[in-house]
C-alpha cells in the first residue's frame, strides 16, 4: 500500500566532496508521502551532510534532490514553507522567550492565524506555562520541545529531524515520539529521521537507510533488516553494520 503513495523525497546519485573528503558517495533513495524514513549510521557516516543537502544548507557536488515533487536545486522557494527541521547543530535565540521565538518563525513561514497556532502547539507540547520564559532558561528537555514546536509551527508536509530526542528523559522522549508519529500518520506528513536511538527507529520508521562512509550499505524496513542480519534488535543490526560484522556482512563479503 505504501508503494502507491507519491514521493515526498527523491534523491538520485547524490554526492558531496569537501576538498579531499568524499563525505557522501552517490546516494539514491526515496520516501513516500506519509511515511517515516530512518537515516542511520555512525559518526562521520554522512547523515548530517545528507540532511544539510536536503535542507539547502550544503550544495551537492553532483546529484538531484526532489522534495514534494519539486527540484529544490532550481525551485526551492516553491516548497520551503512546507518543510521544517530540527537539529542539534542549530539553536534558537536564547534570550527570546518561547512565544517570541515561535512568533518570529511563524512570521518567517507565513503562518496564518499565528496566535492560535502557537497556542495549539503550546498545548500539544506542554509549553503553555513556558511561553513567556526566555528559551535559554529552559532545561534541555524543554528546549527540545520548543525546537519541535518551531519545527511544527508551519504544519510542515516534510519534516527532517536530526536526533530529536537526544537530550530527553525516557518518559518525555517516548511522549515526543508518540506525538511525532501521530503528526505523520494522521496528517499525512513525511519524516526523515536521523537517530542513534535504535528503539526509536524500530518504533517509528517504515523504512531505514543504513549509512557508512558516505554510502548506503543497506536498506529496508526494521523487521526486514533484523531478519536479514539474524538479529533481535535494530541496535544489534546497527553494530553489525558499523563494525562490518554479522550474517549479512559475511554474505556480502563472500559474494
Amino acid at each position: 500500500m505504501l508503494h502507491s503513495l507519491p514521493l515526498a523525497i527523491k534523491v538520485e546519485a547524490l554526492e558531496k566532496r569537501f576538498d579531499k573528503v568524499h563525505a557522501v558517495r552517490g546516494l539514491d533513495f526515496e520516501a513516500r508521502q506519509g511515511t517515516i524514513l530512518g537515516l542511520l549510521g555512525g559518526n562521520g557516516a554522512g547523515k548530517t551532510t545528507t540532511i544539510g543537502m536536503l535542507l539547502g544548507l550544503v550544495r551537492p557536488t553532483v546529484g538531484k534532490i526532489e522534495l514534494l515533487g519539486v527540484d529544490v536545486q532550481t525551485n526551492r522557494p516553491l516548497v520551503q514553507h512546507l518543510i521544517n527541521f530540527e537539529s542539534p547543530y542549530v539553536d534558537m535565540p536564547l534570550r527570546l522567550t518561547v512565544r517570541q521565538n515561535l512568533t518570529v518563525y511563524g512570521k518567517l513561514y507565513g503562518v496564518v492565524d499565528l496566535k492560535a497556532r502557537i497556542a495549539e502547539l503550546a498545548g500539544i507540547l506542554d509549553l503553555t506555562h513556558l511561553l513567556e520564559r526566555p528559551t535559554g532558561k529552559l532545561s534541555a528537555g524543554q528546549k527540545t520541545r520548543v525546537s519541535l514546536a518551531k519545527a511544527l509551527v508551519n504544519s510542515p508536509r516534510l519534516l527532517l529531524l536530526d536526533e530529536p530526542t537526544a537530550s530527553l528523559d525516557p518518559d518525555t522522549a517516548d511522549w515526543v515520539r508518540g506525538h511525532l508519529e501521530q503528526y505523520c500518520r494522521e496528517g499525512g506528513a513525511t519524516m526523515l529521521l536521523a537517530s542513534h536511538n535504535m528503539g526509536e527507529v524500530d518504533r517509528l520508521c517504515d523504512d531505514v537507510l543504513m549509512m557508512k562512509e558516505g554510502l548506503i550499505v543497506d536498506r529496508g524496513a526494521p523487521e526486514t533488516l533484523k531478519k536479514r542480519y539474524g538479529r533481535a534488535s535494530m541496535e544489534e543490526v546497527f553494530l553489525d553494520v558499523a563494525r562490518g560484522t554479522g550474517v549479512h556482512a559475511r554474505e556480502t563479503t563472500d559474494e
Partner: protein, 276 residues
C-alpha cells in the same frame, strides 16, 4: 512535478513580512537586554565629551585652530553614524552566529537578500538609538546642533549609511565563509576609514600619495562637505553626488562579494557549523 504537488505556490508571507519578522527578532533581543542598549549609547557619549572638551579648548585659541575646532563634534557624530551603521549591521548578523540560529533562518522561506535588508533596517535602528541621545547632549553641553544642518544632514546620513552597509555586507560574507574566526574583522575593518577618510582633518593633510586613495572613498566627501559648511560656510552639493555615485559602486561590489561568499559557504558546508 508530480500531480500531488502541482498546486504548490511560494510561501504566503511577503518579503516585507519576512524582513519585518527579522527586525522583530532583533527588536525583541534589544528589549530583553539593557546591556546591549547601554553599549549602543555608551561609546558615542564618551566620544562626544572627549571631542567636545577638545573643541571647547581649541575655541579659546586664536587663528585657524579655533575655526577648525568647530567641526570636531560634527565630525565625531558623523563618524559615529558610519561606525555604528556598520557595527549595527554586523552585530545583528553576529547575534545569529552566536546563537547558532543561522541554519534555522536559511532553511526558512527567508531569502539571503531579505536577511541583508533586515540587517540594514536594524543598523538604522541601532544608529538612531545611539545618535539621538548624543545629539541632544551635544546641543545641551556644547551648543552644537547637528540637526541645524537640515537637508545636508540627511545627505550626510544617507551616504554614510550606504557606505556602512557596503562594508557590513563584505564582513558578513567573510563571516559566512570563515565563521566566527573572522569576527574581529567586524570590529576593526571600518577603522581603516577613520584615518584615510579624513574624518577630523582635510584631505590636504594626507601625504600626496595617499590623497587619491582618500578621494576614492565616499565618506571622504561627506567629511569634506561637513567642514566646508561648518568652517567656510559654503555648501558643496557636488561632493554629495560624488559620494552617492561611489556608494552605488560599493554596494554593487559588496553585494556581488557577499553572494560569492554565500555560495562558497554552501559549497563548503559552513552554514551547518556557523556557531563554531
Amino acid at each position: 512535478m508530480s500531480e500531488v504537488v502541482s498546486n504548490l505556490r511560494p510561501a504566503t508571507g511577503s518579503p516585507g513580512s519576512r524582513i519585518g519578522a527579522m527586525v522583530l527578532r532583533h527588536w525583541y533581543l534589544l528589549k530583553s537586554s539593557p546591556p546591549r542598549i547601554i553599549d549602543i549609547v555608551y561609546w558615542p557619549t564618551v566620544q562626544l565629551f572627549m571631542w567636545g572638551f577638545l573643541q571647547t579648548w581649541l575655541a579659546d585659541q586664536s587663528g585657524k585652530l579655533a575655526f577648525a575646532g568647530g567641526s570636531l563634534i560634527g565630525a565625531m557624530l558623523l563618524w559615529d553614524v558610519l561606525f555604528r551603521g556598520q557595527i549595527g549591521f554586523n552585530m545583528s548578523f553576529l547575534e545569529e552566529l552566536w546563537s547558532r540560529n543561522l541554519g534555522h533562518l536559511m532553511v526558512s522561506p527567508l531569502r539571503a537578500h531579505e536577511l541583508l535588508a533586515a540587517l540594514a533596517v536594524m543598523s538604522i535602528i541601532r544608529v538612531m538609538i545611539g545618535l539621538i541621545p548624543v545629539t541632544l547632549l551635544a546641543i545641551y553641553y556644547f551648543g552644537f546642533d547637528l540637526m541645524a544642518l537640515g537637508l545636508w544632514m540627511v545627505a550626510f546620513f544617507l551616504n554614510l549609511m550606504l557606505t556602512s552597509w557596503a562594508v557590513g555586507m563584505v564582513v558578513c560574507g567573510l563571516l559566512l565563509r570563515y565563521g566566527l574566526g573572522a569576527e574581529h574583522l567586524a570590529w576593526s575593518l571600518i577603522f581603516i576609514l577613520l584615518t584615510i577618510c579624513c574624518v577630523y582633518y582635510p584631505v590636504s593633510a594626507l601625504p600626496t600619495w595617499l590623497q587619491p586613495v582618500a578621494l576614492s572613498l565616499a565618506p571622504t566627501y561627506v567629511f569634506e562637505g561637513l567642514r566646508s559648511i561648518l568652517i567656510d560656510g559654503v555648501a558643496r552639493p557636488e561632493l554629495m553626488f560624488v559620494a552617492l555615485g561611489l556608494n552605488v559602486l560599493y554596494l554593487v561590489a559588496a553585494t556581488v562579494l557577499f553572494f560569492w561568499f554565500y555560495r562558497d559557504a554552501l559549497e563548503k558546508g559552513t552554514l551547518l557549523s556557523t556557531g563554531e
